[in-house]
């Protein structure tokens, strides 16, 4: 992660740096030529620090809520020949949304619904994370059916100010989809994403892309 929450992007360009530019030979530093020769090296240079960073601790979700969320995500997009959403660091992503992104109403809605969903699992024999896959899928199917009925033909709205109106299943499914396909596991393994493709080919067979 490049930015701790609360570190405003506007603050990332230190104004102090400015004075050094005036009249100094240090202005506009250029990378050594050999670094340009290989875009991958330039990438490594840029992101060395991030690679070593520890995942941030949870600030809103409890450990149990985080594990529940991860287990739901893994059933929505399970591990197959590629990693599943359980490998996509979705609890950390959702925790940051809860802490600094979601409107209060959506935050309260998601947390309350997550707990009541887990309470229903307990009625079926244990917390959601301890249910067998078939039990998990039964509960999720129920939640999906309820969401369908609740929406009554309306589509899902991504508008932050409408998220508290979205049924729990849809909300958690959207967070899972978005979280997975923007994660390292999802982008690299499932989407074949390369940060630096290195070339443009205007016509390739789909399996080679």
């Amino acid at each position: 992660m490049t930015l701790p929450p609360g570190d405003r992007p506007a603050d990332r360009i230190p104004r102090r740096q400015a004075l050094r530019v005036i009249g100094g030979a240090a202005a506009l530093p250029l990378l050594p030529e050999e670094l340009f020769a290989n875009p991958h090296l330039a990438h490594v240079h840029l992101h060395r620090q991030e690679a070593d960073a520890e995942p941030a601790p949870l600030t809103v979700l409890t450990e149990h809520q985080a594990r529940t969320l991860n287990a739901i995500a893994e059933r929505i997009l399970p591990t197959t020949d590629t990693p599943g959403a359980g490998d996509a660091e979705i609890p950390g992503f959702v925790d940051r949304l809860l802490a600094g992104w979601l409107p209060d109403a959506a935050r309260d809605h998601l947390l309350a619904e997550l707990d009541s969903f887990d309470a229903r699992a307990r009625e079926k024999g244990g917390p959601f994370v301890d249910l067998p896959d078939t039990g998990k899928d039964e509960l999720l199917t129920e939640a999906q059916d309820e969401a369908l009925a609740e929406r009554n033909g309306r589509g899902f709205s991504r508008n932050p100010n409408r998220l508290h109106e979205q049924p729990f299943f849809d909300l958690v499914k959207w967070l899972t989809l978005f979280g997975y396909y923007t994660s390292e596991a999802g982008m690299k393994s499932e989407l074949g994403y390369r940060i630096v493709p290195g070339r443009w080919d205007p016509c390739v067979d789909i399996e080679d892309a």
Partner: protein, 573 residues
């Protein structure tokens, strides 16, 4: 009020470090002038601040943006697509940098970057020459005043800047979009090749679907590396493959040993000397210390961007120029233009289901203007409902299926498998249309509002008129008829009625002209009133054409620098 007066007199002071300020810095220093560049914002250090290789999973909100911060501090800037979670830091804080909307005007979106390099770090890189269809437009239909130059005056300067910038492009031999000094084009996708052939067939070669001409290197060029197709130029470019002040012109200027960049220098006004009838310097506020400082120079290049340059001139009123410096014509601030856009059509194309592209290119395609042409072609291309014309940015691509996944029922392994793969090819056309010059569309100074540094803020009054309305209709119909001719399915037209300013092609507030009574600048971007003052950003434009304007700003700047230095050497400045 001015507390510190620096003793040194610079040969030249350039206000702004964006695409034109960078060019002025390069040209003036290379011609031997000790040059000071004033930039309102902080420096950008590529190794620290560029983020094009930072993937979504390393961002706190995975690309969903710092929503609360943007709502609070960047309500205007965040309307721009480029003001995303990565690049939002390059855009201004709207609370520190306010402006107002004049009575009767539409909302105007003033999108700005106050950083060393300015908006050249964020631009779309589209680089098109204008032609005499454009430079002759005002004279032909009577809107605005005649440009004092024609294509032949600017052609060598287009050559000059293109040779340095490096433009990937394909020659097409079309009079309305002159060819330039191109690097190899970025090849069109196999579907786009079919589109090109199909349109050539259906419209007799009049609607030419060409690779977009962009300021991105397709081979190593003057010490900068070829593009590596990571695809998100607006976040920076560590290999310097796309053109910006920071990647190209400022380093060239610095190599002369005659460049000084002074960041965090918010210009309050120009200082006019009644004795000599010249600008003697610039009064700035240090953004960090809030000190008032005056710097002195022999010539001044105002390259602060269209609206900011007008604001500076209007804030520089003197007893002789009570309505704003260099404003004896009363035209400073008037004739503000932008391009209409966010209007067009798209549709699905069948075939080539087993093909796609590899890499993320920094461009797409372009379809040059084909309406209201001049010369032999004129009659056949005449549109009865509007004057002037439009071009399209366009392209055919395949989206990923997961993005529509929330609309698909289900979950589990089969569901995951169903989201794999690519959507059908979709061909889209987005029009960019010319905006007629209108003296009532203007920048003035708000009588009360001030920015964070106590500088009177701009008030912007601008509305699109009937000509733009009619053009929006035609942009949709003409795009739809091309999609029909190609056999596209599921054709949809769209018109989001883009607000003025939103194309971020604002121009025209200190127009060039032939007559000091009706224009601010002469044919060299030189103030009629104050001979050592040059304005070479978008403010100088007398009309808007429909092509992206940055390349023309660059050529005008280089040409003005050449003229200014020749005049200085003859002791005429």
């Amino acid at each position: 009020m001015v507390q510190i007066i620096e003793r040194k007199t610079w040969d030249a002071i350039v206000i702004g470090s964006g695409i034109t300020g960078g060019w002025a810095a390069k040209e003036l220093t290379e011609k031997g002038l000790e040059t000071l560049v004033l930039e309102a914002g902080p420096p950008v250090v590529p190794e620290r601040d560029y983020s094009e290789h930072t993937p979504p999973w390393q961002m706190p909100y995975r690309g969903l943006r710092d929503r609360k911060h943007q709502a609070e501090r960047q309500p205007v800037q965040s309307r721009a697509a480029a003001c995303d979670e990565w690049s939002g830091k390059f855009f201004v804080d709207d609370i520190d940098n306010p402006y107002s909307i004049g009575e009767g005007g539409q909302d105007f979106l003033w999108i700005r970057a106050r950083i060393v390099g300015g908006r050249s770090l964020l631009w779309g890189r589209q680089s098109y020459r204008w032609s005499d269809l454009d430079f002759g437009a005002n004279a032909r239909d009577g809107y605005g005043t005649d440009w004092p130059i024609r294509y032949r005056d600017l052609a060598p300067w287009y050559d000059h800047v293109e040779s340095f910038v490096g433009i990937a492009g394909q020659p097409e031999n079309m009079p309305q979009l002159p060819d330039g000094k191109f690097l190899p084009p970025i090849a069109q996708s196999c579907m786009e090749e079919k589109v090109r052939e199909g349109l050539d067939r259906a419209f007799g070669g009049t609607r030419r679907f060409t690779p977009a001409r962009v300021a991105v290197l397709t081979k190593h060029h003057l010490g900068r590396r070829a593009c590596h197709y990571c695809g998100i130029c607006r976040r920076g470019c560590i290999s310097r493959s796309y053109f910006s002040s920071l990647n190209a012109t400022l380093p060239a200027a610095e190599a002369t040993g005659r460049l000084t960049v002074r960041p965090n220098s918010v210009v309050r006004n120009l200082v006019y000397d009644e004795q000599t009838d010249r600008v003697s310097g610039v009064h700035l506020i240090d953004a960090e210390s809030n000190e008032s400082i005056e710097v002195r120079g022999r010539i001044i290049f105002l390259c602060a961007s269209t609206i900011e340059s007008a604001r500076i001139l209007l804030n520089s009123a003197t007893p002789r120029f009570a309505e704003g410096l260099a404003n004896s014509s009363g035209q400073v601030g008037r004739n503000l233009m932008d391009h209409i856009f966010q209007v067009g059509a798209n549709g699905n194309l069948e075939g080539l289901e087993d093909k796609t592209t590899f890499g993320r290119r920094p461009n797409s395609c372009y379809l040059p203007r084909f309406v209201n042409l001049d010369g032999d072609r004129a009659a056949a291309t005449r549109e009865k409902d509007f004057l002037r014309g439009f071009g399209y940015q366009c392209g055919a691509r395949r989206g990923t299926l997961w993005q529509g996944g929330i609309g698909q029922p289900g979950f589990g392994a089969d569901y995951k498998a169903s989201l794999r793969g690519l959507a059908p090819w979709r061909l889209g056309f987005t029009g960019f249309g010319e905006n007629l010059p209108n003296p009532d569309n203007r920048v003035t100074i708000d009588p009360e509002l001030e920015d964070r540094w106590g500088i009177p803020a701009a008030r912007i009054t601008m509305s699109y008129g009937e000509n733009e309305e009619a053009m929006r209709e035609a942009i949709q119909t003409r795009a739809a008829e091309m999609l029909e001719a190609l056999g596209a399915k599921n054709i949809r037209t769209f018109n989001r009625n883009s607000l003025p300013g939103f194309a971020i092609h604002e121009m025209g507030t200190a127009r060039m002209g032939r007559d000091p009574e009706t224009s601010v600048l002469n044919g060299w971007c030189q103030s009629w009133d104050v001979p050592n003052l040059f304005v070479t950003d978008g403010a100088a434009m007398a009309s808007s054409a429909c092509q992206n304007p940055s390349l023309t700003y660059m050529a005008l700047t280089a040409r003005a620098c050449d003229y200014a230095v020749r005049q200085m050497r003859r002791l005429e400045l």
